[in-house]
Amino acid sequence: MNVTSSNHNIRKAKSFAMNGLCILCAVLVILPLGLILFYLIQKGASSLNWAFFTGLPKSAGVPGGGMGNAIVGTLELLALASGIGVPIGVLGGVYLSEYGGERMNTWIRFWADVLNGVPSIVWGMVAYALVVLPMKGFSAWAGALALAFIMIPLVLRTTEEVLALVPRSYREAALALGLPQWKTIVRIILPTARRGIITGILLAMGRVAGETAPLLFTALGNDYWNKNLSKPIAALPLEIFNYSISPYDDWNRQAWAGALVLVAMTFCLSLSVRLFSTGRFQKNT
């Protein structure tokens, strides 16, 4: 009796300790998020001013200057990449959910998942070989293409998943009323799943907005405003990278400010994702 009860106590103590360990793990996982937000605000917020958002970078060693061109450049790259990647991804997702047969779909899903695992720097190399080499120069197009490559499989997979949630009866009702299938898809199914599809697109944009590696040798970076998409363009992540490994204190300080803006951008994207996806599915039909 005594033995079993002390044994029981040991087991309970062990359970208590291990559960405590799990809680500790959870705290340690969340901790970096708190730390990075703290340092971003502490080191970056003081450098945010009007000139930072509108100005051009000053030459090395001269204090002041801004990242206006890089912020606009990132938005331009995002828009171009979405312009290429979103239609292809959505159409592919429609094919998987509305047309494709079992075998075909299995393959396409498999390929898309493989593509999702390809490191982003490799996409930079592909865009370099496809665009930079033939055009004999770094360009915004090359950077946008690299980002679009990353977006396509992401958008395709989420679109397919969302379309699968549209009730079968919607399709049957539309077809029974004599609508051709393509009109059923364009007018009934896609609008029904609109919210989910937009969520997927925003997620993909959030994923590529902070990408640096694929832009290193495609978009390259630019100290001035980009006026021609066939020329190099500045991007916020690139600017952060270049400024943070530079030896100038003022550039390091601006790298923190740029990082704060970039993180704010990606968090805004994921926040809008949450707003979009919490709306009830049926509500917007």
Binding site: R11, K14, S15, F16, N19, C22, I23, C25, A26, V29, I30, P32, L33, I36, Y39, I88, L91, G92, V94, Y95, L96, M104, I108, W111, D113, V114, L115, V118, P119, I121, V122, W123, M125, A129, I152, P153, L156, Q181, W182, K183, I185, V186, G206, G210, E211, T212, A213, F217, L220, P237, F241, S244, I245, W256, A259, V263, T266, F267, S270, R274
Partner: protein, 327 residues
Amino acid sequence: MNTEVATTPLSPAPGRAGARSGTRLGDTLFHLVCLGGALVVGVLLALVLWQLFKGSSLALKQFGWKFFTGSEWNPVTDQFGALPFIFGTLVSSGIALLIAVPLGIGTAIYLTDLAPVKLRQPMTSLIEMLAAVPSVVWGLWGLFVLMPLLRASIYPLLQKWFGFLPLFQGPIYGIGLLTSGIILAIMILPIVTSVSREVLRSVPNLQREAAYALGATRWEVTRIAVLSYARRGLFGAAVLGLGRAIGETMAVTMVIGNTPFIGWSLFHPAGTLASGIANEFTEATTDIYQSSLFELGLVLLGVTILVNIVAQAMVRAFTTAETRQVA
């Protein structure tokens, strides 16, 4: 007048027939356009492989298999061996896994079985936010906050206590294998945690209830009924994290020091496949230099694809088998 009205719907009017064939045309067109969109993923996959092969053809021809065993990477003498970068990739990802897998699984246990229900969703959202922080920002933080801290206080302690191991000998630079491993660990924590959580959630509740009924404590339930049951799926989660760590570029480039290195000391600067490409690609002036970098990319691509396929197969086999059983 009357007869006309009656007959119109019966006889196929030319306008209607036209509309119907237009419909058929529209359907075919739309079908083809969608098919095109879907096939783009296949084309992209072929494109990646083809471009990297094409880019690295010169290096493939010149170095052959020696590219993988050569430990010298010297652009000045045009001598390129990938071994130092393969070494750096394996070691930094290995460190990342050693740190991230226990932490991730512990967190997943907390989130599925222990945490108050009210806390679960907010915690999960926080972990998603962690995943949304861009790589370059982790690099910045690693370079200016984490690295000085490690160099000043943690690494000297490690050297004092474990200095008898060759792993913790040698000068402390701050940047190096261990620092990049730690940054990588933070970066793969979200994926390891969320996949582990998915895996643990698909363990049937019956399993837990049975263990409780036998008088198991909370931890024993987790250990006997949940963890050993979900072993394969959790292993898949770890391998998925490995795939991420291998391909991670920017943060590693900023804190690893970018020196080809093979040796025991974890404090030493090194290079990974991805960081080597990121750091040297724009400087590659000779054809063979650039071609060798393309071959590094090819190795990187091959390894990540392999790792990802294995991991996904493991996770999917586990979660679908479980949901089928429950249903």
